[in-house]
Symmetry: C2
Subunit: 272 residues, 2 copies
């Protein structure tokens, strides 16, 4: 069964999409075709969105689902007059919240301030640059500033997780690859010895690892099942020998890896 | 006025936080202290969250606001029995959506699948590595694969935006810094000449730039108002001379910069 879903916003569209995707994930039997309209901040753009909704309704023979976060009543009215089923993810909760909080809400067309505040923005940028500077063991002299140092075999998810931790939570995350040489000795890589309490391991199913590595270097020894199995097994042995906490990233999205690291280590976000 | 807000989830907490923050942004007169409880997947964790909510209610003298995305009824009941004002961001919409879609929803405790699907995950990882490999003009030989090449002066927001575009949308985004030397000549940097149609400029208010640069190198010529003004002005001249589309990042979050680039260029997301 195929349906069409629209995400419509007067700003980034992030709230409409996160909320909408979260709701759609509860309908696994339906295949959704998705369309986003961001920065819908005038009537012309709203009418263009409404026209696209109507065209989808006609071709699907069924009402598309529309998730919108438009604040302007004029613009919302244009959308709700379309042949879509509109889910008003913000306004539904605003008046009950006004009662609960005993304060009026600001109904102005406005972008929710996601980390635009100067100090937050600076922290995010600094954290991103920290992740870049301390990626893949390239530099190890700033580990004393790290909130966490991720370790794991190549392509276990370290780099994207460090960047997500930086962008989303302002966390200083370094990462260090476990190489074959490290695995052959029974000791922790020298650069890590002084920072044992900041280490966090990522492990991954060998089959999944082989598939990720094949994407990059198909047919190589690096991507072979045997090599992946061996590296994963030896990395696990290392985690256990040195009592390094770790998670399995096999079925995890980058968001899950990152939020699990926070949940398991108790590291505090640097903003919010 | 100070109130406490809780975000409670049986998985990453991203939906509860994005939705909750979006709603709270409409109450700018209230200062919220925020607490997140993620991976609340058993009764013990739910009771610990409820206890913290009750403690906050007592110390604030007012009900905390609680945004939750718990699917398990047992766990939800523990939270709703607390002294918080609970906003049930998912369930509120599920039964109307079931009607609109004519399909039952899956009520199982489950994490919404955010890009865990193998092909999406691989694309995100590849895009992140593309952004890293093609950061800051370090390498320019893969520009033919780039969906977009961001250009701008140092610290105008290029790197975080490229990484966000990669992580969030699977887009191959390279970035190239405009240096003083480039600004002094009247021509486009050589590496960019063949890719003029993929260029997108970032500009920034000189004061904001000076403040960001000062964070890194306080008191330097690099961070001086005069230097920042000159670079920004000359970059703008370059954008206009070569008709390169650009946006002003001064008051923008990384999310806004990234989504505006998509909206203005029409580049399609690589998943969703």
């Amino acid at each position: 069964m195929k349906r069409t879903a629209f995400f419509i916003s007067d700003s980034t569209g992030i709230t409409a999409e996160v909320m909408g995707e979260s709701l759609l994930s509860h309908f696994p039997s339906i295949e959704f075709e998705r369309h986003s309209f961001t920065y819908v901040d005038n009537e012309e753009k709203a009418r263009a969105a409404a026209d696209t909704i109507n065209a989808a309704a006609l071709s699907d023979g069924q009402a598309p689902v529309v998730f919108d976060t438009l604040i302007s009543e004029t613009l919302r009215n244009i959308i709700t007059a379309s042949n879509g089923y509109c889910v008003d993810v913000i306004n539904t909760f605003l008046s009950p919240l006004e009662k609960a909080l005993g304060a009026p809400s600001s109904y102005t067309v406005g972008r929710p301030k996601i980390a635009t505040q100067s100090s937050q923005y600076n922290r995010r940028i600094e954290a991103v640059h920290f992740a870049l500077d301390n990626d893949d063991g390239g530099r190890v002299n700033r580990y004393n500033e790290a909130d966490v140092i991720l370790i794991g075999v190549s392509r276990s998810g370290k780099t994207p997780s460090c960047l997500y931790l930086a962008l989303q939570f302002g966390i200083y995350a370094a990462n260090f690859p476990i190489t074959e040489e490290d695995l052959e000795t029974a000791s922790l890589p020298k650069a890590l010895v002084d920072y044992k309490d900041r280490l966090f391991g990522l492990t991954i199913g060998p089959d999944r690892l082989a598939s990720i590595r094949s994407e990059r270097l198909s047919g190589s020894r690096y991507a072979s099942s045997r090599q992946c199995e061996r590296e994963v097994q030896e990395a696990l042995t290392m985690f256990e020998r040195f009592k390094i906490p770790y998670i399995d990233t096999t079925d995890c999205s980058i968001e899950e890896i990152s939020t699990r690291i926070l949940a398991e280590t108790g590291i505090e976000r640097k903003f919010k």
